[in-house]
């Protein structure tokens, strides 16, 4: 049953109302009304011109969503979310919504861009200033065009999910929902019904992706990632390094973000997935920040396959994510490197799950949590060795750093072993920045803020080293900025 004509007419009339106040008529840019019901799901699918099978998939997910219960076990507290009081579809920004120039952009935002060392032209792009042709942003050669050409030559498919649904339906149908089943959890189900867009990457056999893929190149193409859906498939012997997010603080009127990322690696293939997340964390009193509930999972299906998750999380009012690896294939390897910083009133409950199913599988977890202000930072991890995980190995190191005495740092690891030859080693420590260390740095000429940044970056070194180069430099700056004002 397609979205009823009534609904479409009703939606159109909303925009027409606004037209009375002098906005330019533009039939193409339609906004669905608030709320979530079957009509909205159809509306979304219709706007994207999706084939029937995609719509059916969404509808089934939506049906299941009704039976599900919001999870409450994480150590995060937030006012109840009214799922009917949100928009689930917003057209790409029109020129009317965009600022004319950087002068119209929030000065706080600009200050952050500057501190992160983002060049002026890029700032314009990030802030959505109108009429910025993406290729003007970079040096004379149009980087994006070259980028697309290089990829095409190697056979790598990298496009928005909405495009993949049209152009590569067999691939999407085969793999979508195979790592994170539709009913996996409340937010994954919601995402499956209303996902907006995301990345689709397919690496053919034996192909080493010639450059790092970054969502940065997609910023101008699609709307903000409220319900991002990403699917990356690495066929036998292939390799890709994928970068998600950027250090620049991203604002969004949509408070709830529920993304789903699925990774699949076949024999001898590898995916390196790096994330730098700095969604708006709310003001110093914790009001208005974004809730980031993400389901990320990788399936090491092939022998000798490998997945690395590296993340630097400094934003969001609430972060709830556990990038995980299912270590199926013999000798497969899962890695998780994370820095999670919470300041002011932020709350993070994040970690990883390493599920060892196959022989000789290996996993390594290095988690650095830094808590300041009134924030709460929890590491929640699961390492499980199934009966058939002969000779599997895990090593976990979780370190927490507390800055100030009003915050909390918590560690909740679940360690389960059903195979006697599997070895699990877990260590966790908690510490603070010592006043003596800070004084030593200051006596050598560093200011209090500089000293904290130096000490914290030192604390996070093991993880920073795992990030792709450009990300690492930006991440270090981001770490310093996130802790501003943390020591009174």
């Amino acid at each position: 049953m397609a979205a009823s004509q009534d609904t479409i007419d009703e939606v159109r009339s909303f925009d027409l109302e606004n037209y009375k106040y002098g906005f330019v008529t533009d039939i193409e840019s339609e906004k669905a009304p608030k709320g979530l019901n079957e009509d909205i799901v159809r509306f979304i699918s219709d706007k994207k011109n999706e084939p029937q099978w995609m719509l059916d998939w969404r509808l089934k997910a939506f049906e299941r969503w009704h039976e599900m219960v919001e999870p409450k076990w994480a150590k995060v507290h937030y006012p109840a979310i009214d799922f009917q009081d949100a928009y689930y579809y917003a057209a790409p920004k029109t020129d009317e919504d965009r600022p004319d120039s950087l002068d119209e952009v929030d000065p706080e935002l600009l200050k952050t861009y500057e501190k992160l060392g983002i060049p002026l032209k890029e700032q314009e792009l990030l802030a959505g200033v109108k009429n910025i042709a993406v290729d003007v942003v970079f040096d004379s050669v149009s980087v994006i065009t070259t980028f697309k050409e290089t990829l095409a030559e190697s056979g790598v498919i990298f496009c928005p999910m909405s495009e993949a649904v049209q152009k590569y339906p067999e691939l999407v149908q085969k793999y979508l929902g195979s790592v994170v089943p539709v009913t996996d959890n409340f937010y994954a189900t919601l995402n499956s019904a209303v996902f907006s867009d995301g990345s689709f990457v397919y690496l053919p056999e034996g192909v080493r992706c010639p450059m790092e893929l970054s969502t940065y190149f997609r910023i101008n193409e699609a709307e903000t990632g409220q319900f991002e859906r990403t699917l990356i498939i690495a066929d036998k012997g292939s390799y890709v390094s994928y970068l998600e997010g950027c250090t620049a603080p991203m604002r969004d009127e949509n408070q709830l973000h529920a993304a789903v990322v699925e990774l699949i690696v076949m024999d001898d293939a590898e995916i390196k997935y790096s994330t730098v997340q700095n969604w708006y964390p709310g003001d110093v009193n914790g009001k208005g920040g974004i809730y980031n509930f993400v389901t990320k999972r990788g399936d090491c299906r092939g022998r000798n396959s490998k997945i690395s998750w590296t993340q630097v999380e400094t934003g969001s009012a609430i972060t709830w994510k556990y990038p995980s690896c299912i270590l199926r294939g013999e000798n497969s390897v899962g890695e998780f490197y994370s820095i999670a910083i919470t300041n002011n009133y932020q709350q993070a409950d994040t970690g990883t799950k390493m599920i060892h199913l196959g022989k000789n599988t290996r996993s390594r977890i290095v988690s650095k949590g830094i808590s300041a202000g009134h924030a709460q930072n929890t590491y929640r991890g699961l390492v499980t060795m199934h009966p058939k995980a002969e000779n599997a190995r895990n090593h976990t190191q979780c370190d927490s750093l507390l800055i100030g005495d009003k915050c909390g740092a918590h560690t909740v690891p679940y360690i389960e072993s059903r195979n006697p030859s599997a070895i699990i080693e877990h260590e966790a420590t908690t510490s603070k920045l010592s006043e003596e260390q800070l004084f030593y740095c200051r006596q050598r000429g560093l200011s209090q803020e500089e000293a904290i940044a130096l000490l914290v970056n030192g604390f996070c070194r093991d993880v920073l080293q795992k990030l792709p180069m450009e990300f690492a430099v930006e991440a270090q700056k981001l770490v310093s900025i996130s802790l501003e004002g943390s020591v009174g």
Partner: protein, 251 residues
């Protein structure tokens, strides 16, 4: 260069320095000796500006200006260097990175230009060689896993790098064997110039055989009990500190 007048300092509500006065001119090396608990470390921390060391009365004038309101990093930029008795470990931060960051911060505060990585590398290697510090040590996390001697040599390396106007060496010889102490003393002596002043704080006389002071002060009960030339140190070696502890009279 440094003029301390009747300084009273409290730590955790307890008065440690009870009217200390000291005057140091450029080019001079003053030794401060005293029994444990006399306030030697307190003096060095107060000069470096550590929080928790409260000046209740008295003054500290450095190069004609009141230094007491300045933050530790501001004093560093002005040329004050404290070689710690127990240098801190900073895991995850290499010696190289730490020193470059600190030097550039000081340059910036003074309005001077910062060094780029290659120039800094050249500079630090040159100085490191003089102290037998290998490239390898420079790449390790600051002081992490270093022996006592290595940490002290590292402090002297830093002193060479920052070229301070006033260097305060807080019990630089503690925990060192003779050979290590000689290397450290050589490094310190190489930095003696007519423009630079040094305060060498020590419990034992032997360091002063190698770093020969111009003036020796005995710090007891929170103030300077006696001052003299280098022979005073030898005398102390013979008699010990007892006489001073009982002699020093409170007003």
């Amino acid at each position: 260069m440094l003029e301390i007048k009747d300084l009273h300092v409290e730590v955790d509500g307890k008065e440690i320095l009870k009217g200390l006065s000291l005057s140091v001119k450029p080019g001079e090396v003053h030794a401060i000796m005293g029994p444990n608990g006399s306030g030697k470390s307190t003096l060095s921390y107060v000069l470096a500006g550590r929080e928790g060391y409260d000046i209740t009365s008295g003054s500290v004038i450095f190069e004609g200006h009141d230094m007491t309101q300045l933050k530790p990093e501001e004093r560093a930029a002005k040329g004050v260097f404290l070689a710690f008795q127990y240098p801190l470990e900073i895991p995850g931060v290499t010696t190289m990175t730490f020193l470059r960051t600190a030097l550039n911060a000081q340059q910036k505060a003074r309005g001077e230009s910062e060094l780029d990585a290659p120039s800094f590398l050249r500079l630090i290697r040159e100085k490191a060689r003089l102290l037998n510090i290998s490239d390898d040590m420079l790449k390790r996390s600051l002081n992490t896993g270093f022996s006592g001697g290595e940490k002290k040599r590292n402090e002297i390396l830093q002193m060479m790098l920052f070229e301070p106007k006033l260097a305060i060496l807080d019990e630089t010889d503690s925990g060192l064997d003779i050979d290590a102490m000689k290397i450290v003393a050589e490094g310190v002596n190489a930095l003696r110039t007519p423009q630079r002043a040094m305060l060498v704080i020590t419990h034992y006389q032997r360091l002063l055989d190698y770093i020969v002071p111009d003036v020796v002060h005995v710090l007891a009960n929170g103030r300077i009990a006696k001052s003299g030339d280098k022979n005073l140190a030898l005398e102390l070696e013979r008699t010990g500190y007892d006489a001073f502890v009982s002699d020093a009279v409170l007003p």
